[in-house]
Symmetry: C2
Subunit: 272 residues, 2 copies
């Protein structure tokens, strides 16, 4: 059952004057729950804090948030918890309200099924606008992803490759992109658009993946392609348009390294 709060006070519902509702004026985190805990929580909190700082949104007391998360995750063996933080209530107009307490919510969701084969990717027509002021953070202005995901549903694929307005591959609709070329795993930068995924961050810190600009050709000619996010871990891509990929040991290797640090991401699909 979802729960809503104004700062540190439980409320029954969010107001119709909520700024998240009016303008997508908020941030969110979608977090894997494993045996009652959130193994990637520190990374989610760091990104949330960064987003709140960049947008000027107040952050409720993290200890209070953590206590509510603990209550909601208690007894959950495997699941997903979504945290949505909004700027709170405002009047009409874009001007951020002064000193409005942040309104936020937690919502539990089931863990999505692990796909039994590699992911079939649709090359989305919907592009990502280049907007450094909003890039990297997980804000709630997500119409591009909504339109792109609608494309994916229409063609019956599993996920979509999103390119920016200039044609550069950036990410999937809800995962970061990993391309294996030779003995290197590469992921596009997220300084112009895209989200700095928490698992992407871990892979970069571990030196398992490097940031690199990728052209469309680089993706199509990659030895292996995978997607990663903090809910499903690392999943292989088996198809993008006419291009197909067979199982590749570089993916199995990357998955194994992740599973050593985060066992809840073990036992994934090894390849296509």
């Amino acid at each position: 059952m979802s729960a809503a709060y104004i700062d540190s006070e439980r409320v029954e519902a969010l107001s119709l004057a909520n700024r998240g509702l009016a303008y997508g004026d908020g941030l969110f985190e979608t977090m894997r729950v494993h045996r009652g805990t959130l193994p990637l929580w520190p990374r989610h909190l760091a990104r949330l804090r960064d987003g709140a700082q960049r947008l000027g949104i107040g952050l409720p007391d993290p200890a209070f948030i953590e206590a509510r998360i603990a209550e909601m995750s208690d007894g959950v063996d495997a699941g997903v918890l979504k945290l949505l933080l909004t700027r709170g209530d405002g009047g009409r107009g874009y001007a951020p309200p002064v000193d409005a307490p942040p309104a936020w919510m937690l919502a539990p969701h089931p863990l999505p099924p692990v796909p039994c084969a590699g992911l079939r990717l649709h090359a989305c027509e919907t592009r990502l606008a280049i907007q450094p002021a909003l890039a990297g953070i997980k804000h709630c202005n997500r119409l591009e992803q909504v339109l792109a995901r609608a494309e994916v549903e229409r063609v019956g694929c599993d996920e979509g490759l999103m390119r920016d307005l200039e044609g550069r591959p950036v990410c999937a609709t809800s995962a970061n992109l990993l391309a294996c070329r030779g003995d290197r795993w590469l992921t596009p930068p997220v300084a112009r658009c895209g989200v700095a995924g928490v698992l992407r961050g871990w892979l970069l810190e571990q030196g398992l993946v490097e940031v690199a600009e990728l052209a469309e050709d680089d993706v199509e000619s990659a030895d292996a392609l995978a997607l990663c996010n903090g809910v499903r871990g690392i999943l292989p891509v088996s198809m993008l348009g006419a291009r197909t990929w067979a199982a590749h040991p570089a993916i199995t290797d990357l998955q194994a390294r992740l599973a050593m640090a985060y066992p809840m991401f073990s036992n994934p699909v090894a390849g296509a």
Copy 2:
């Protein structure tokens, strides 16, 4: 008092699973109420319909919406009514729910005071991303406007000039831009970013204003500058950075033509 609806049913609150709240997955219209009616309603409805079509959001029965608007505007001599239309409720994830009834709301607001002098514009650092898929419609992904408006507040100006990522002037944070050069009124296109304002649409149809690309220099060297929207009509700009403008007969003339068609916009500020 605000009122919320799921399709044609009144509800007490919007759900925490509302897609507008999650992703800014919605559209809005901010409408001038004059003597119990909305003189620009057909234009607002047309833009709402266009936006709903482009985003694939269901539109409630317009007759039902109009009846609720009439109730809420009854007895209001001068005010503002905001209509917010969202895709309705969804589960986790960007995929638009199939057949979710649209959730929407109406909220009355006071008419903002007419400024007693020309508007002082701040040249916002926050840029508008170029995104043709979302340009023109009044969707709820408005973080750019929120950040830009926060800049305006910080410097104590009245409004902000927004440029796109390539530096072209497009609009203000909540109004369209009108630049008078010689005997022509020009307004930037909104095919790449920006909103197709309802009053801008009327001015274009009347042949009083033309669409033209404007460079920053074109704005600074304009003979007169004004902003327009469906709530406050046409307002003169008196300042943009170091540049100032005195009252100009071209603005008075444009205001007078508007007031002939829409008398509620009469008696505005004539100049700086």
